[in-house]
Amino acid sequence: MNTDVKKELHPTMAARRVYRLSDLPVWLCSLALLALVLGLWEILVRALDISPFILPPPSAILREWVVSLATPVLWDHTLVTVLETLLGFVIALVTGVATGALLGKNPRLEKILNPFIVTTQVVPKVAIVPLFVLWFGFGLTSKVLVAAMLAYFPILTNTILGVKSVSHGHRDVMITLNASRWQTFRNLELPNAMPYIITGMEVGIVLAIIGAVVGEYLGGTQGLGAMAVKEMNSYNTARLFAVIIHMSIVGFVFYAAVGVCRRIATPWHESASPPRS
């Protein structure tokens, strides 16, 4: 009887009765997927009896992480990495926006410098990190500068693009209003570039953390990168994983912070509005 009724129903109404995955909220699906992967990992490690030196089960990693959260050591290292990342990022942001605006407003200068910018983009910058350690020592400075160098280029190129992508119509408005160069920059070019700059910042902040951590891998005893190397040398794989997870969370917080910046700085832009369903 039921099947007869279903046949008579409008197709969309019939579909509504069927339980579908697409009815679940997106975040719940993501969470379920994560639980599935972790569950499989746990089961496989136990079933295949894999050595904890190679691949510890998620439960062990989680335990290590929670335990180290209660120790000051992890937080001391975190603070160092956060400081390096932030300092490097701020340096990259200030210099990147300033030089980007300069090049965006001077097409001739940009053309002259373009081959150099492209070259620096192509060179694997991580390869220069040992040089920085050599020049600036094992302390904070070398890591801050590595972070700044990595974060600089995406911010630079996006700022150039943003300043250059002002529409002719908007330019005409400022011309008819007899605006000065500075007024045009302040009221038109800079706000026009903002969404681009923030996109550069999103890439830049992630690269800044990578820069700081890679710098720590290579030299010194401070920071999450140095901590990871120490755990690796003592074959404490579970704690190494815990440090990696901790780094990821720090990175995620930074990235989310830039997202908040986007909503505050460019509330007018489509990229800042919540997705429409």
Binding site: I175, T176, Q183, N187
Partner: protein, 272 residues
């Protein structure tokens, strides 16, 4: 605005074009965008530049707006020559308000900030800017939308805001480049009535570019018909229906008569 001490400003909103022409030098040779043109617009007059696309009407408007420098001749606004060598005269530019086809509001500013932008550039303080923007919103009929962003408004309302921005610093002349070209026919009719009301209320000189014959006849005191290759003023048609004109005028015989005559003239010119 005019004072006895400055006799040259008695004709604040007047515009004179003396032997104005524009050509571009390209690799294929010289392209003439606008042939030598002479005419003058009275203060407070509503002049419409009418013609098909490519006839140089936008070129002509941009020449008056100071967005293009004429290859020859002189543009005078309110008694001031617009160009002095390669620099535009500040007094002449201050007399011009320009409304573009696509509103060209800045998306990062609210409607109020957009309208008050010219005042901000002139160093007017925040409170005075806010008050002026509020008055103008009332004038153009978008009160209550001051704090919205342009993308939250319809095309017609954005164009109203663009008109308010052009009026904010009280220029004597309003130059409008197909301001309602992107709007649907009904909104367009409504905006024409509104524009007439604003023009009567503010007593500005208006120069409006359009390719719609009925829009031209409805709005204009005088229609300058332009023809292409090279762009030049073909003839001047005075329109003397009394003001304020109502939309019903468009259905009357005298109105249709002028529309038909202009259309014939344009089609005739197009065949050659």
């Amino acid at each position: 605005m005019s004072t006895p001490a400055m006799p040259s400003q008695t004709n604040n909103g007047g515009i004179q074009l003396l032997s104005v022409g524009k050509h571009y030098d390209t690799q294929q040779g010289t392209v003439q965008a606008l042939a030598k043109t002479d005419f003058s617009i009275e203060e407070g007059e509503f002049v419409v530049l009418l013609g098909p696309s490519g006839c140089g009407k936008t070129t002509l408007l941009r020449l008056i707006a100071g967005l293009l420098k004429p290859s020859m001749g002189t543009v005078t606004v309110g008694g001031h020559a617009l160009w002095r060598d390669d620099r535009r005269d500040d007094a002449a530019v201050a007399d011009l308000g320009v409304v573009f086809q696509d509103a060209e509001l800045f998306p990062w500013f609210t409607i109020e900030e957009n309208i008050a932008l010219p005042l901000k550039l002139r160093g007017v303080d925040r409170a005075a800017r806010k008050q002026r923007a509020c008055e103008l919103c009332k004038l153009v009929g978008i009160s209550g939308f001051e704090q919205r962003y342009p993308r939250e408004l319809s095309g017609g309302m954005r164009q109203r805001a663009a008109i308010a921005r052009a009026l904010s610093y009280d220029p004597a002349v309003l130059l409008m480049d197909e301001p309602f070209g992107a709007l649907d026919a009904m909104t367009r009719d409504q905006m024409n009535v509104e524009l007439q009301r604003i023009w009567i209320a503010t007593a500005k000189t208006i120069v409006l570019v359009t390719h719609s014959i009925s829009e031209a006849v409805f709005l204009a005191d005088r229609i300058l018909l332009l023809t292409s290759r090279p762009g030049r003023v073909d003839e001047v048609t005075p329109v003397d229906f009394p003001r304020p004109r109502v939309l019903g005028l468009q259905a009357t015989d005298p109105f249709q008569h002028i529309v038909d005559r202009l259309r014939e003239r344009l089609e005739h010119k197009h065949e050659h």
